[in-house]
Symmetry: C2
Subunit: 201 residues, 2 copies
């Protein structure tokens, strides 16, 4: 059983999708052992509590290495074997990758390598793309850059606001992220350089 530390910063809808999948699917292969937030009083912490999962706030520390070390310490105290960034808005220090090599997943609301960073949805809209989407990838030392595990496409429609497009992207995130976490938990994801191969279950 894969034991997940889920990192959050906000509403935690992707956390909820993973909690729901873990509860509903006896073959999911992963459980959330701790939720870690960089901010107190976010909805994601309530979701953890409702699911009976320990929630820990590790406030942002200006020193990235120290902050990352504190998060990894908490994750390992709870026995986590992998970390899942579910709308976590901070960039981890490379220390995290050393401690969880190829075991940190991130979800990004754009078709990487287009529109990395914190404003991917707004920037896609400003650029005028006709399709955007969702990317789940392994975390490496660079922002939104590690090997891509899966992508789903979302159309950009005429007249879309950022909220419209983000809502359409979130829908796909909530389907894709649990699928990827399950595949990861079952050992199906094989990283070869920058390419991630999905092996048969």
């Amino acid at each position: 059983m894969e034991k997940l530390a889920v990192l959050v910063s906000g509403s935690g809808t992707n956390l909820q999708a993973i909690l729901d999948a873990a509860a509903a699917d006896p073959d999911f292969g992963a459980e959330v052992v701790v939720v870690i937030s960089d901010r107190a009083e976010v909805r994601a912490l309530e979701r953890a509590e409702s699911a009976g999962v320990p929630a820990v706030v590790v406030p942002w520390n200006r020193d990235r290495a120290t902050h990352t070390g504190a998060i990894c310490d908490v994750a390992q105290e709870y026995g986590a074997t992998a970390m899942v960034l579910a709308g976590y808005m901070r960039v981890l220090h490379a220390e995290a990758i050393r401690r969880f090599p190829d075991r940190i997943l991130n979800i990004h609301p754009a078709l990487l390598p287009s529109f990395p960073g914190t404003h991917g949805v707004a920037e896609a809209l400003e650029y005028g793309v006709k399709v955007s989407g969702v990317t789940v990838h392994f975390v490496d030392e660079h922002v939104d850059h590690g090997p891509i595990i899966a992508q789903r496409v979302v159309p950009v429609l005429s007249g879309d606001t950022e909220d419209d497009l983000h809502a359409r992207i979130h829908e796909q995130e909530h389907v894709l992220f649990p699928e990827v976490v399950k595949a990861f938990a079952h050992g199906r994801l094989h990283v070869e350089g920058r390419r991630v191969e999905w092996r048969e279950p």
Copy 2:
């Protein structure tokens, strides 16, 4: 009737798709009045000849402004009202945009802004994306950068070689490019900043 100068550098399969659409669809609204190649003895020139369309070779000149001027001169001699870059491997000088403002279309074998430039297919594969595709856009002063008219998605499959992926992308190009040219010829494409709106026919 929109009169097109189609610029080519190679096999001309996108040229063929446009010629075929113009021949098959009485409502296409555009005709190819001249094919311009920067290289002699390419298959695209034979395609022009077979379709009874004049073909002109304008060899690459190291001075981009001079080369671009020569191409625009040829296009206008043949009465072209718009230019279509169909696998044309040279970058035009901004002079072309002044002479054909919002009237130059380009097709690119990737989901821009990802993987611009001449090696878009290989670079997508090396990066490890799970989806790539095709972009048709208006040409501006920057390479593969102007307002995006349409995009189509193509999956990247396990074990794909560059040829495999390129073949799958070409299939979509040959469907998308004639569609866009027709919409352009019918005055349906409205550019507002970087966003291109498709108006009802």
